[in-house]
Subunit: 180 residues, 2 copies
């Protein structure tokens, strides 16, 4: 059975929405995803706010209750009949996220067993056929076929198979022949 | 550079010693590693104590302060000049261990960056040349060369390259030619 690794932040979970919500509330701003075309939030943030920007992520509760990306549950449930699904999150950059991410996956994706969670850093360690990720640098490191999941920060990136939403993920894998 | 994945429990950390310490203290017993030749602790434990045996591992502080296996630091530091070292722990079976394991690695192995920690379940996900592990089932799943690190429970296991201690790990890799 072919194996798909799926990134969490910005692919399964709407991490940016929560980051923007906390940023806007804290600094009384109105930044939206449309302001972040081709850029990360840290690139449009004044220098003196960078430390706070990072502190939002380090908060114990940041990753506990992120919104789901629409369709992620249904499409992954459907794909899990034809492919072996692993969750691969770069969780080591925010160690406080480890427990919350584990609980979030159990709550929203009970059909994927914890044996198939991978909390890592460098995604070149993954032995899989596909990786769905919003970060081009992760796709570069990965040795299989990379699919770039569209996020505001990567809208100007070229050179990857791109999926804009979970419907397109479903369509892509519908065209992949079953193999051992 | 060739890549070595290293298991934590019973390879880098003396997890069994801590488990035995808590077990013996709690039940007023005197079980030693010598009583566990070819068997896991759960196999010599009466049924009515199994739940408590697991509860020791689930305690928030169990993995915080495990003793180091002798030589693990020096040999891994030396090998990290010639090989790419990843830490690969089956941490998902004890989710409370995620934070403590991260902190333990940072404290004792500061020369291995968190990008090279992998907390996983099924070790078939690892893309590496070597895996050093005390669990034959992990070596079975792994696609590269497996080295069985001796622990009481695997003393009767055959069919693997065996290393009894970190000196033998060092000797083994001294004989491995450098490649890209």
């Amino acid at each position: 059975m072919q194996r798909i690794c799926v990134d969490m932040d910005e692919v399964m979970a709407d991490t940016l929405a929560e980051h923007l919500r906390r940023y806007n509330q804290h600094f009384d701003e109105t930044v939206t995803p449309a302001d972040l075309v081709g850029k990360g939030l840290w690139e449009v943030t004044p220098l003196e706010r960078q430390q706070q920007l990072r502190a939002f992520l380090d908060a114990e509760d940041f990753f506990e209750d992120l919104a789901l990306m629409p369709g992620a549950q249904d499409v992954l449930k459907s794909l899990s009949g034809r492919f072996e699904i692993f969750i691969a999150s770069q969780a080591m950059v925010v160690p406080n996220s480890l427990g919350p991410k584990y609980r979030w996956l159990q709550r929203h994706f009970p059909f994927i067993p914890p044996t198939h969670y991978v909390f890592c850093g460098d995604k070149s360690i993954l032995r899989a056929d596909y990786l769905i990720d919003d970060q081009p640098r992760n796709l570069h490191l990965f040795k299989g076929t990379g699919l770039l999941y569209t996020a505001p920060h990567n809208l100007t990136t070229t050179g990857w198979i791109r999926v804009d939403n979970w419907k397109q993920v479903d369509d892509y894998f519908a065209g992949v022949p079953i193999s051992d």
